[in-house]
Structure formats: structure tokens, C-alpha cells
């Protein structure tokens, strides 16, 4: 039983990080139909930013703000320069464009910082653990679950309780009609990329604190996790992203715990098997918002 609770705690911690990753991705998809493959590069860039800031001995609070700033700035640049011209393009063209953007961002990391690993310094307090009845919870796990909850709550309030949120939802529903109703549509994309960038900055710090290093190709893993999560939950749905992330977290943690060791190396393959099953059997995802996947 203790074991089970331990696995559940781990699953919740991993799952909340996946949910955050998925949120940033699904927000932009909801607004413009873009599955942004370059999203993970925001995390890589944040990692190098953390490294630089730590090298300059910047105060932790300031550093957190600065990292979020870097990710938001990059996300905005990406949105305005690369993706805005494509806002009327079919989703597949958008996906291909995001491949191009991710190549650009990755190549610039290579050119500026070089190829190898870099350590991402984290405050040592995150490594401390709390023990309660045989279950170990690290501060980092608490922080990631706490941050996840706060971000989801904040995003929910933003989308449901503010004018901007209402406009974004209207735009996602029908961009043309929203424009006729007086929504300044050109601002919606900017807002979506800004929020996506803020979330990327936040999740970057948690993700990097967990793995401890960053390298130019470090975007693939978080991007894939976010992809899986949004597909399981349902593309373009906020609720789906949260659920999808948590489901993926539970799936992975319990897979490691209870799978016969012969099958262990197939962990990622099994996750994708789940994804394919969802796409074929329930293309609208677990959360059930119907979206047009194949325009």
C-alpha cells in the first residue's frame, strides 16, 4: 500500500509537469491549429538562460522572472515572425513550419553555446525530502504539483473570467465571426503565444531541475511528452491537456513499477501505442472536445 501511494505521488509529480507542458502547446493549437514542434526549444533556451544567470550570481527571484521573460520573448518572436504569416495555412503546413522553426532555434543554440551538455544549477533546497509514513516526497515534487495547480487555476481564471479570455475562446471557436463581433483578432495570436511562453518558462525550470542538464537536442523529450499528453486529452482542450498530462504521468510511473522487466525497455513505445489507440478509437481525446483534425 505504501508502495502504491509512493507511486501515486511520483505519478502526480511527473504528471503535473506533463500537464504544464501540454497546456502551453494546446493553447496555441486551440487558437490557430498549430501543433508547435518548436515548443521544446523554449525549454532548452530557458536552460541556457538559467546557466548564464547563475553564472552572474543573480538573485533567485529575479532569475525566475528573467527565465520566464526569456521564454515569453522567444515565444512571441516565434509567433510573430514565423507563425503569424501562416495563420490561414492548413495544420500540416503549420506543423512543417514549426519543424523549420525548431531547426532554427536548435541551430542557434549550437552556434552560440556549442554542442555538449551543460549543468543547470538549481537551489539545493529542492532536493530535500519530507517523509510521511514511509512515503517520500521531495520539495521539488511539491513545488511541481503546487506550481501546476496554480498555473491551471490562473489559466482557468484568465480564460473564463477576463475579457481577453472570452475573446480568445471566441476566436478559437470561429475567428471570422469573432472579428466581426469586434475582437481585435491580431492581438489574440500575440496573447496566445505570450501565455504559452510564460507557461514554457515556468515548466522549463521544473523540468530542468528534475533532469539537471541541458543540451541543444534536449527539446525532443519534453516536446514528445507534451504531444502525447495533448493527443490523449484531446487537441485544443485545456481540460484535456491537464488530464492527458496526468494520465501520461500515471501511465509512466505505474508502467515502471508494475511492468515485467522484459517489457520495461518498451516504455515509450507503449505510451505511443496508447496514443495511436486514442487517435483511432477516440480522436476527440479523453476530455471529449470535438475538433477538426484533418482539414
Amino acid at each position: 500500500m505504501t508502495n502504491f501511494i509512493q507511486h501515486l505521488v511520483d505519478a502526480l509529480s511527473v504528471g503535473s509537469t506533463y500537464s504544464l507542458l501540454a497546456l502551453g502547446l494546446t493553447l496555441v493549437f486551440g487558437v490557430m491549429g498549430l501543433v508547435n514542434f518548436a515548443y521544446g526549444m523554449l525549454i532548452v533556451w530557458s536552460g541556457y538562460a538559467i546557466g548564464l544567470l547563475a553564472g552572474w550570481h543573480v538573485n533567485v527571484v529575479l532569475a525566475v522572472v528573467a527565465v520566464i521573460g526569456v521564454a515569453t520573448f522567444l515565444s512571441l518572436v516565434m509567433g510573430e515572425v514565423a507563425f503569424r504569416p501562416f495563420r490561414k495555412a492548413p495544420p500540416l503546413t503549420l506543423l512543417l513550419t514549426s519543424f523549420g522553426v525548431s531547426l532554427i532555434l536548435q541551430a542557434s543554440v549550437r552556434i552560440i553555446f556549442g554542442e555538449g551538455f551543460r549543468r543547470v544549477p538549481t537551489p539545493s533546497v529542492l532536493g530535500n525530502g519530507l517523509h510521511a509514513g514511509g512515503v517520500r516526497i521531495s520539495v521539488l515534487q511539491l513545488v511541481s504539483v503546487g506550481t501546476g495547480t496554480l498555473v491551471v487555476l490562473g489559466l482557468y481564471l484568465l480564460l473564463q473570467r477576463t475579457t481577453l479570455g472570452l475573446q480568445m475562446r471566441a476566436y478559437a471557436e470561429d475567428a471570422d465571426v469573432a472579428g466581426m463581433m469586434g475582437v481585435r483578432t491580431e492581438r489574440i495570436l500575440t496573447a496566445a503565444f505570450a501565455i504559452s511562453g510564460v507557461i514554457a518558462g515556468i515548466v522549463a525550470m521544473i523540468w530542468l531541475a528534475k533532469i539537471g542538464t541541458v543540451q541543444p537536442s534536449g527539446d525532443l523529450n519534453p516536446t514528445i511528452k507534451a504531444f502525447i499528453a495533448i493527443v490523449i486529452g484531446g487537441l485544443g482542450s485545456i481540460r484535456g491537456a491537464v488530464l492527458g498530462g496526468l494520465i501520461l504521468g500515471v501511465f509512466e510511473s505505474f508502467l515502471v513499477a508494475y511492468l515485467p522487466s522484459v517489457l520495461l525497455p518498451y516504455g515509450e513505445a507503449l505510451a505511443f501505442l496508447l496514443v495511436i489507440a486514442v487517435l483511432v478509437l477516440r480522436p476527440q481525446g479523453v476530455a471529449g472536445r470535438v475538433v477538426e483534425l484533418s482539414r
Partner: protein, 354 residues
């Protein structure tokens, strides 16, 4: 009078298969002449480059058969390529070395070695069988969903290869494959593959698939099965990519599961889009353009441009391909030659191109 014209794949313009076969043969001859001329002019150091071009072209045609006929973009072609490469590897490592490299292989595989041509065919068939197995699932999806699923297919296949240690050496390097990627082998295979792609395109199968691509609802109303019309191009794509994988193995001679992953997928996708995803000839154009560009930028990265020498800068190649891809999609999403195909016809006038 023989005229060379352009045909598009829109509407009812169905090109004649004979014309395609003639055009393909012409292409092979011109290609071989061009390659020989280039060898004479640029010296034998560019032999490798021509081989790389040929292998890439087979892989790109493999993807084009799928994208051009069904409109479905696959990011999982490297799964087929890996099946083809490992199949070719197992079949063609000399029997004497095989005992050391793959000691746990079943006896009939361990004690026999096949020559090049049967190996290429079997490698293609192995990948085609994989395509038949996964096809009924994959072909239900289009657009983004298909893209993600095809990538999932790649991840799953990669996991299987990493773990089938008796056959693939798992994560360790598979080596000992003879260097059989010679000019005749590669370009013979390329010619055959281009002919196959062209025949499929202008056949009834291809026409049906493109009808579904352009308007699934109308096509189904006309009695065309969406699933089966897409299945054939998918299986053909698997076969061609498997053959390409075998050639890839012959060119590399040593490889590991990492040789068949996302990093190798993106150039193939870019080549297809660059030339024109709806055209077989476009696949060749795209391969030519990007292979030439990659070679140029590779020299640039190493700090050599003609007589100039400067410090090496890593990442320029990737940067240029990224920027190029975005600009291409913005300026000309249909690629260099769109959906046009060269067509030889024996009539007095070639068909008008609109």
C-alpha cells in the same frame, strides 16, 4: 513527332503509363550521363556524394508515393528504412563473419548470404509487410493525427529494433555489411523505384487514391473505399523505403538504431516538400537541390569555401535548412515544380498545361 511536355495530376488528366516509362528511362539515362560527366569534371572524390544523392532519392520517392497520392505526411518513414536496412544487413553480412557479429541468429539465416538484388527485393518486401500490418490503423487518419501516429510508429519500431538483440545487436553498432552501394546498384534501384512510383501514380490505384485525397466524401460516394485506396500507396511507400533502407545499409556498412530517427527524417521530408510533394519528378528535384545545398553548407561548416578557409562553425547547415524550410512554405508551399510531371508523348502536340 515526340514531344516533351508537362502533365498535372489534377482533374481527369491521366497520363499514359507508356509515356511515363519512356520518361523514366530517359531520366535514368540522362541521370547516368550527368553523374558520369560530373565524376569526370569534379574527380572521383565526389563519387560518395553521387551515391548519397541516389540513396536519398530512393528514400524521398518512397515518401512521395505516399504524400503525393494520399496527401498524408508521414514522419515515420525511417521505421521502414530501418526494417529494410537491418533485413539487408542480416542477409548480406558474409556467413563467416555472421557467427561473430550475430551469434544467436537462427541457423538458416546465419549460414547463408544473399547477393545484392534479391537482398534489395526482400528488404523492400519486409518493410511492405510491416506497412500491410499497420496500414489499416494508420490509413484511417489524416492531417495532424496521421503525422503524430506515423511518428509514434517510428518510436515503436525503434524500440522493437533496440530490443530484438539477437537480430539487430540492439543499441550496439551493426557492422560488417559489404559496401555494395555502387553506382550501378544505386541508380539501377533508383530507376526501378521511379518507374514503380510513376506507374502507381498513373494507374487506376493512384487515380483512386488522389480522388480520395482531393475530396474524400465525393470519392466515397462514387464507390471508392477510402481505406483501400490509401493502403496501396502506403504499402508501396513501405516497399520503396525498405529498398532505400537496404541501399542505406550498403552505403553506411555500419549503423545503429540512432541512424534511423528524427534527425534523418527531417531532411527527407524537406526534400519532398521542396521539390513538390505531388510529383515524382519533384522528389528528384527536391533531392538534388537539398543534397547539393547540404554538401555546400557542410564545407562551409568545416570552414572551406572554394579557395577560402576559415574556422569551423557548427550549426550553420541546420540553421540554413530551418530558415529555408520556413521561407519555402511561405513563398511556395507546393514546391519547386508543384504537381507537374514530365511526359513524353508521341502525338503532334503535348497536352496543354494550365
Amino acid at each position: 513527332m515526340i514531344t516533351l511536355g508537362w502533365v498535372r495530376d489534377r482533374g481527369l488528366s491521366r497520363g499514359g503509363t507508356s509515356g511515363v516509362v519512356i520518361a523514366t528511362a530517359l531520366l535514368a539515362v540522362v541521370g547516368a550521363l550527368g553523374a558520369s560527366l560530373y565524376l569526370v569534371l569534379a574527380g572521383s572524390s565526389s563519387y560518395d556524394l553521387i551515391i548519397i544523392f541516389g540513396v536519398n532519392a530512393v528514400l524521398v520517392v518512397g515518401l512521395q508515393v505516399l504524400v503525393g497520392n494520399t496527401g498524408i505526411m508521414s514522419f515515420g518513414q525511417m521505421a521502414f528504412v530501418s526494417v529494410g536496412a537491418y533485413t539487408a544487413g542480416i542477409l548480406s553480412v558474409p556467413a563467416a563473419q555472421k557467427k561473430g557479429i550475430l551469434p544467436h541468429l537462427p541457423a538458416f539465416l546465419r549460414d547463408h548470404t544473399l547477393p545484392v538484388v534479391p537482398t534489395l527485393v526482400i528488404a523492400g518486401l519486409a518493410a511492405a509487410i510491416v506497412a500491410v500490418i499497420i496500414g489499416p490503423v494508420f490509413m484511417r487518419l489524416t492531417g495532424i493525427a496521421a503525422g503524430i501516429t506515423s511518428f509514434g510508429f517510428l518510436v515503436i519500431m525503434n524500440g522493437l529494433i533496440r530490443n530484438a538483440k539477437d537480430y539487430t545487436r540492439g543499441n550496439e553498432t551493426f557492422f560488417g555489411v559489404p559496401h555494395s552501394a555502387t553506382l550501378p546498384v544505386v541508380f539501377g534501384a533508383l530507376t526501378a523505384v521511379v518507374a514503380l512510383a510513376a506507374i502507381i501514380k498513373w494507374s487506376r490505384l493512384g487515380l483512386r487514391a488522389r480522388a480520395v485525397r482531393d475530396d474524400p466524401l465525393a470519392a466515397e460516394t462514387a464507390g471508392i473505399s477510402m481505406l483501400f485506396s490509401r493502403l496501396w500507396p502506403w504499402v508501396a511507400s513501405g516497399f520503396i523505403s525498405g529498398v532505400g533502407g537496404a541501399l542505406f545499409a550498403y552505403q553506411l556498412t555500419a549503423f545503429s538504431p540512432n541512424s534511423f530517427y528524427l534527425a534523418q527524417t527531417i531532411p527527407i521530408v524537406v526534400m519532398v516538400v521542396l521539390g513538390g510533394a505531388n510529383s515524382v519528378a519533384g522528389a528528384l528535384v527536391g533531392t538534388t537541390l537539398l543534397t547539393a545545398w547540404q554538401e555546400f553548407v557542410r564545407n562551409l561548416e568545416n570552414g572551406n569555401v572554394g579557395p577560402l578557409h576559415f574556422g569551423a562553425v557548427r550549426g550553420i547547415a541546420q540553421l540554413s535548412i530551418g530558415i529555408g524550410l520556413v521561407l519555402l512554405l511561405l513563398a511556395r508551399p507546393s514546391g519547386a515544380i508543384g504537381s507537374r510531371e514530365p511526359q513524353l508523348s508521341l502525338r503532334a502536340r503535348s497536352k496543354k498545361v494550365h
